[in-house]
């Protein structure tokens, strides 16, 4: 029995190692803010959200499979949350019955397993109840299969069969086991047995045959004998105790997987609710097959920014179909980084089957998203800044494959512009030739202009908009790079206030 709510044919592995690029992505794209919104205070939801988003899918089929399930969730949020809570309850109640150090005794182990299995049976009955009630209002292939499986597998006959085992395994009539003489005639191959004929009863048979059975009774005070007898009993039930403990594990892992996979959708519900509360738009994106060059969006905004701000954030549009490079230039603090982040985030969210923060978003799936953002400080101080940048690029180069997507934010600028441009040009050319889609925010005019001259047809040029009065709109427009970077504006803005305060300082009398 499998939930199969994340993949049509396999389990979601929450233990999987995040891709090597994950740390950089988290930091560069502001992912923790998104995960927090998905978690809504539940650490487990946070973990699942992070695993699901960072280990993105690259096949359109599975993305659509999840999208359909997510549509069901958005239509039946209460039922989905109820299923999730049921799984959580089953897991918590199992933990409560944990027997700790007694696992060395098959007798205790079996007793404990029987109790846990009784509880699980109760939870499974409830689960089937939900399935029966709600199967009509769910339309996705994933949920339909899930509910149908519960209804078929967990029949009344099946519950009766399990109930009979659980009753028997309390051994009210003693334990019947077989053995064979092993080395030194010590018993071996102990097996729990079920009497051949319940009607006549094996003990009746014994009584009937007289000499073919012998009985040994312990003396009342024979404590060593009692221990020996108990060990003999334990040998007989050893296998079944192990099987029962394993079965509790398996059912527990069914609930655990179900919880894990539902956690992703509960996270999506939380995020949707949070964004809707801020009156931000969301949409189901249109993924297209790996290897294509589709990319187009409208009203694309940075969800992380939207979640942490009280006012509406600016949406952007672009149509970059058939282009290898998205080159973003323009004014400092004009929203270039935010835009780059929104692009990466939307791509990741689409590739994990989620809704995306945009009015419309469509793109070819990529083999992996990578980010290379300018870092404020070299934390380790072991290498120069430019060296550190190339070192990071070196690690990315170990991992990135054809049809990957890489986001550069002011990369290779920690040296003079000519050198930086040359490096950037060489790296970008190599990546593009190897089928990697490049999104590059830069203020290196030499580099940007070079691309314009040489590869103009492969590039979509975006520029941070600047209004007539020099004010930033935080909006990207399709436009070729300009050879000034509006740093002057910023300089003036900062220095005018600084100069003003310096003047004030100067007017104070010297100490």
């Amino acid at each position: 029995m499998k939930a199969f709510l994340m993949y049509p044919d396999r389990d979601f592995d929450v233990e999987q190692a995040p891709p090597p690029a994950a740390e950089a992505l988290k930091q560069d794209l502001g992912l923790p803010i998104v995960f927090r919104a998905m978690a809504g205070g539940d650490a487990f939801l946070n973990e699942v959200a992070s695993k699901a988003v960072l280990s993105s899918l690259d096949d359109v089929e599975t993305i659509r499979y999840r999208q359909a399930i997510l549509r069901d969730c958005l239509g039946n949020p209460k039922t989905v949350r109820l299923l999730y809570e049921l799984a959580v309850e089953a897991i918590q109640r199992e933990k409560k019955g944990f027997w700790g150090g007694l696992s060395k005794h098959p007798g205790y182990m079996l007793h404990r397993s029987v109790e846990v299995l009784e509880m699980f049976t109760e939870m499974l009955r409830k689960l089937r109840g939900i399935a029966e009630q709600s199967s009509g209002s769910f339309g996705s292939a994933g949920f339909k299969r899930f509910f149908a499986m519960l209804i078929t597998e967990l029949s009344d006959e099946y519950f009766a069969e399990i109930g009979e085992h659980l009753r028997r395994l309390r051994f009210r009539g003693g334990v019947l086991e077989s053995a064979m003489p092993g080395n030194g005639l010590k018993g071996r191959n102990y097996r729990l047995r079920k009497a051949n004929d319940d009607q006549s009863g094996w003990f009746n048979r014994l009584l009937g045959r007289g000499p073919s059975s012998f009985t040994y009774r312990l003396h009342e005070r024979d404590e060593a004998g009692a221990r020996a007898l108990s060990e003999l009993r334990d040998r007989g039930i050893n296998l079944v105790a192990s099987a029962m403990a394993r079965s509790t594990d398996h059912i527990l892992s069914f609930f655990t997987l179900m919880r894990t996979e539902l956690a992703f959708y509960v996270g999506c519900l939380n995020l949707t609710e949070a964004l809707t509360a801020k009156r931000q738009l969301i949409c189901f994106p249109e993924p297209s097959a790996l290897g294509g060059r589709e990319l187009g969006f409208e009203g694309l905004y940075d969800a992380a920014l939207a979640l942490s701000m009280d006012r509406n954030v600016v949406g952007n549009k672009a149509h970059a179909e058939g282009k290898d490079i998205v080159l973003i230039t323009g004014a400092n603090q004009g929203g270039k980084s935010t835009f780059l982040r929104s692009l990466g985030l939307a791509q990741l969210m689409m590739q994990s089957g989620m809704v995306v923060p945009a009015r419309q978003y469509g793109a070819a799936v990529c083999s992996g998203v990578f980010s290379h953002f300018k870092r404020e400080e070299d934390a380790t101080m072991t290498s120069g800044k430019f060296d550190e940048e190339l070192e990071r690029m070196n690690r990315i180069a170990d991992q990135i494959r054809a049809h990957g997507m890489i986001l550069f934010n002011e990369a290779f600028a920690a040296t003079n512009e000519r050198e930086g441009s040359e490096i950037a040009r060489q790296i970008v050319h190599a990546l593009v030739e190897q089928q990697v889609r490049v999104c590059f925010v830069t203020h290196m005019y030499d580099f940007a202009h070079g691309l314009e001259e040489e590869d103009g047809d492969k590039v979509v040029f975006l520029r941070a908009e600047r209004s007539e009065g020099g004010e930033r709109t935080f909006r990207m427009i399709e436009a070729r790079p300009l050879d000034t970077s509006f740093g002057e504006d910023l300089f003036r803005k900062i220095f005018s206030t600084e100069e003003a305060s310096a003047e004030r300082r100067d007017r104070r009398p010297a100490a």
């Binding site: 029995m1 696992s103 060395k104 005794h105 098959p106 182990m109 597998e153 399990i162 009539g173 003693g174 334990v175 019947l176 086991e177 077989s178 053995a179 064979m180 003489p181 030194g184 005639l185 010590k186 018993g187 097996r191 729990l192 047995r193 079920k194 051949n196 094996w202 003990f203 014994l206 073919s212 059975s213 009985t215 040994y216 009774r217 312990l218 060593a224 004998g225 009692a226 020996a228 007898l229 060990e231 003999l232 009993r233 334990d234 040998r235 007989g236 050893n238 296998l239 079944v240 105790a241 192990s242 099987a243 403990a245 394993r246 079965s247 594990d249 398996h250 059912i251 892992s253 069914f254």
Partner: protein
């Protein structure tokens, strides 16, 4: 067919000599034999290592067996034989020690089946291994006859039959409250499987194995014993047959198998001891031995216990050559201390002794004397107040050696009389040396009295050497060279740029 031993040709077998020869400690032979026999206490092998057989014929007989055992397939046969015999003895021990009757009998039966496997297994192995030595061929012929004999065949048949029948028994236990009822098993179904089947739909892969391990002592507690007694009563004929069989076969081991098991270990234990060294690239060879030819020779010989120690520490083993040709009989070893002189002397003694046991010796090639006696006289650290009595004692011992030694004897002397005055040492050294020369003994004499090497044309000088550029470090190589002490002095001089040429060059006008 009659067969006696793989250690001695003919009928004069020997169990060896319990007492350790007097020179064992000086030559570190005690360490060798201790290491060889360390895990073989049961066999009481030391007496074999204390008793060289003394004839060229016996040495040849042993070399043949040893050459056979150097073949992988025959060595494997020998170790298999030994392992099986050990297992058999272990089961017999249990049979003796255990308390409950049926258990004792079962282990005795088990020992018999192992014995039968041992005999047939060894026969097959020796037939497949095709040994060339008289010893192993003889043993193989004998074994062929024995294993086809009525006694052995009957023993095996009965033992396996009883064991098989017992193994087929199955019985049921019903445990309720404080009683257990025992009866025959009658096809009751496996309930664990039925339960597991019911839960299979939840299975996720293999799952964890929660089975608990139980202590499995050889013996039984009284509840198990009670169950066993009931089982015996459920199958009275089978267990009655077991009892009779054990009584009838109380002395089933053939004495020759027993003694060959021990003799085989003489070779096996030594081969096991030298194998790691050989694997590490050190050479071993079959020495040519003679009772009359005194042209002694060794190429790349080494001290066995030292080599093992160095190897374990990951250090290099230094090998040394020696050769006596023509009238040469005596090696005088001198040179810087800590340079391997004592090791050299020991190597010489060890190689001779091991060769006289009929064993492989260290080195690529060796020509050694089949001696009648081996003597050692090693200087030992003593307290000052005993010096005088010790000196006297030393002289007494040397006198005794010279009295007993014959022209077929080997003498190893190490820094004898070095604690006395130089004048005494030179005087006594000369006197002793004259007698050794006169007696035509083969001798190694480690001494600081270099001039002893020039006493006669029968002496050879060998010196320990140093690294010329760093005189503080030794090469541990002992080379044949006149003992002028110069190599050492020159090296030190060079190090300090004080040789004639150097010093001349440094002193400017």
């Amino acid at each position: 067919m009659v067969f006696h031993s793989i250690l001695y040709p003919g009928e004069e077998g020997s169990g060896g000599i319990a007492e350790e020869p007097s020179f064992f400690a000086d030559l570190n032979l005690d360490q060798i034999v201790d290491a060889i026999t360390a895990n073989k206490a049961d066999y009481d092998l030391k007496p074999f290592f204390h008793a060289p057989p003394g004839t060229l014929e016996a040495i040849r007989y042993r070399h043949e067996v040893m050459r056979d055992l150097e073949k992988e397939v025959i060595f494997a046969a020998a170790t298999r034989f030994a392992r099986r015999m050990q297992r058999m003895r272990e089961k017999l021990k249990w049979s003796e020690k255990l308390y409950y009757k049926q258990q004792k009998e079962w282990w005795f039966l088990d020992a018999i089946t192992i014995y039968c496997e041992t005999v047939t297994g060894l026969r097959e192995d020796l037939e497949a291994g095709d040994p060339k030595s008289r010893g192993l061929q003889g043993f193989r012929e004998w074994l062929g006859e024995y294993s086809k004999g009525v006694g052995f065949v009957g023993l095996a048949e009965q033992a396996y039959r009883i064991k098989d029948e017992i193994a087929k028994i199955a019985y049921c236990l019903h445990i309720r409250d404080s009683s257990v009822t025992v009866c025959r098993y009658e096809g009751e179904i496996d309930y664990s499987e039925a339960v597991e089947e019911s839960f299979r739909k939840f299975a996720q892969g293999e799952g964890k194995d929660y089975r608990v391990g139980f202590p499995e002592p050889v013996g039984m507690n009284h509840v198990e014993a009670a169950v066993l007694a009931f089982v015996a009563r459920l199958y009275p004929e089978l267990f009655g047959g077991l009892e009779r069989f054990c009584t009838e076969q109380a002395a089933y081991v053939d004495p020759l198998i027993r003694s060959l098991d021990r003799e085989m270990q003489f070779y096996v234990s030594y081969l096991e001891y030298i194998r790691p060294l050989a694997d590490n690239g050190l050479a071993f060879c079959y020495p040519r031995l003679s009772t009359i030819n005194k042209e002694i020779l060794s190429r790349d010989g080494f001290d066995l216990p030292l080599a093992r120690k160095l190897m374990e520490a990951g250090q290099r083993v230094v090998c040394n050559d020696y050769e006596l040709s023509g009238r040469e009989r005596i090696i005088i070893v001198s040179g810087p201390n800590q340079g391997g002189k004592t090791t050299f002397a020991r190597t010489f003694g060890q190689m001779h002794y091991l060769a006289n046991l009929g064993l492989l010796v260290p080195g690529r090639e060796a020509r050694l004397l089949l001696f009648d006696q081996l003597f050692t006289h090693f200087e030992r650290e003593e307290k000052v107040e005993n010096l005088r009595s010790k000196f006297e004692d030393d002289l007494m011992r040397v006198h005794e050696i010279l009295r007993r030694a014959t022209p077929r004897s080997v003498v190893v002397m190490n820094e004898s009389f070095s604690t006395t005055t130089v004048k005494d040492a030179v005087f006594i050294g000369r006197e002793v040396m004259q007698r050794i020369i006169g007696r035509d003994l083969i001798c190694v004499f480690v001494t600081f009295v270099e001039e002893l090497a020039r006493l006669s044309d029968t002496t050879v000088s060998m010196v320990s050497t140093i690294v010329p550029s760093d005189p503080a470090s030794r090469t541990f190589r002992i080379v044949r060279r006149p003992a002028d002490g110069r190599a050492y002095a020159i090296a030190i001089a060079e190090k300090y740029r004080l040789t004639y040429e150097m010093l001349k060059g440094r002193i400017r006008a």
